[in-house]
Amino acid sequence: MEYETVIGLEVHVQLQTQSKMFCACRADYQSAPVNSRVCPVCLGLPGALPVINARAVEYTIMTGLALNCSIPRLTKFDRKNYPYPDLMKGYQISQYDLPIAVDGRLEIGDGGEGRVIGVRRVHLEEDVAKMQHFPDGRGGNGGYSLVDVNRSGVPLMEVVSEPDMRSAEEARAYLMTLHSLLQYLGVSTGNMQDGSFRCDANISLRPAGSDEFGTRTEIKNMNSFRSVFQALNFEVGRQRRVLEDGGRVVQETRGWLEGRAVTVSQRSKEEAHDYRYFPEPDLPPLDIAPDWVEQIRGRLPELAPERCARFCRDYGLPLYDARLLTASKAMADYYERAAGMHPAAGTARESHAKQVSNWMLSDLARLLNLENRDIADSPVSPEHLVELIGLVDAGTVSVTLGKTVLEEVYASGAAPRRIVEERGYTQISDTAAVEPSVREALDANPRAVADYLGGKDSAAKFLVGQVMKLTRGQAKPDLVNQLVTGALERRKNEGNGAADSANQSKGAGAD
């Protein structure tokens, strides 16, 4: 039977505020000493009262607006009860039936053929404490856990999609688009490794064409775009096998095990999901003033789709380039700095803009990808890149040598001009300087010469390569071409006898 995959995603995003959600402790817990960002409120001490962080609400409204949500006038917080030591109070302050933003949508994929994924709600809650488990104990003490409360109370925004995605690819595209959007808005670092951007997925299969949903499972513990993609693909296969064998999918939570590349059941006791939500008595409901919402709307930054259009318009870039360059804010910011700089003398602005794009999307992207490094941390600054493009444009170095220089700038962080000077990487455009290398290459490769004289024109290419090698890539390629061909033609005209004897040796030097 043909099955259709149905996926909905819940994304938890730590907001980049200065202080926590309900108290004034600093929210930068990542590198803070254990239990140093805590106070009576986030420790859940009796009598402590929470007060809502206005900036966190503002960021959530801003995200809601960017996701085309409506922002209801009335919103409130609720208590979600569950007993677990990562919750100091025994409950988490969250939002149940009146979230800050509702009924939005996010367009994924590339422009024209984009799919629209519904966003059910965006709500605000608090993060929980960090636990370390020692199930077998240490020092014969039996099992125990250690708790660091620093993360407890950090503002956590949850974006819940509609079950509108139909494949792991779409789920990944949605996540990447949402991730990029949050960075454009500047509301979160979006760092997946340190848990600032976390994703859970609900996934089910149903017979193709059916309107009813199948039984779903919830997948947790995916901490990269890649693991989301792999885990969902695995789960599609697993559920299909269960259904094809005449079985029934069990509604449960499953954890993704990165090392084994499988999802496994994490079924816990049923009552663990009896959250007994009720309105938070310590926090009065929030009346979101429409003019506050309009103020925030007015402050929305330029987002990826508009920026992409502007890149095409202002820099004359092809749509393909503009899309790739605006996929992340850091990339687009880098591009604008480099493209906006004064181009090398004699280079048109548009040509400069396109060259910046070419270098970024090919050679620089390759270097960054090798190390999985974000462009924001690129050792090659926009200034470096523009300087390098200037050196290539001026003919100081060839394009090929330029790529080598880029690698060295990447490795050392030194300026391109300095590398070119220190390494003596200047392009040789002087005939007298190249000619000795041409003679040397021809003398060292009699077979290739013979092949050329015997009519195999491609042998010249091989000899050009040899000259480039001898000049360490510094000779101007078209000059070398011209000199090699000239020298070969001269030999051809000089004496056919020598050529004939060399021909009989059946050289294969050009291969």
């Binding site: 200065q18 402790c25 609400v57 994490q266 009065p284």
Partner: protein, 96 residues
């Protein structure tokens, strides 16, 4: 509305409280009494009254996003029954 023994056991498990056989019956009686008190509220006619999550008139109380000093870690840990270094130490939690 009387609570039965199973409901009491369920509630105790949610609250992580261990209770024994005789206690179950005692709590069943007491909890049923509390719930009956709420039944009294149900006798009020609330037709036309808007539901509310909050009895007070306060709205939109928020603070600026300004950080302040936290507690010194030793103060934060001073009432902890068990600690290890600067961590709170708790019984093993194995079901997750």
């Amino acid at each position: 509305m009387p609570l039965d023994r199973d409901q009491v056991i369920h509630i105790a498990a949610l609250a992580r409280i261990g209770i024994s056989g005789a206690e179950i019956d005692a709590y069943a009686g007491q909890l049923s009494g509390i719930i009956d008190q709420f039944e009294v509220l149900n006798e009020l006619d609330t037709t036309g009254v808007e539901p509310t999550g909050h009895a007070g008139e306060l709205r939109a109380v928020m603070r600026d996003d300004t950080p302040a000093e936290s507690l010194p870690p030793d103060d934060a840990l001073s009432n902890a029954p068990r600690r290890e270094g600067q961590f709170f130490r708790v019984k093993a939690v194995l079901d997750e």
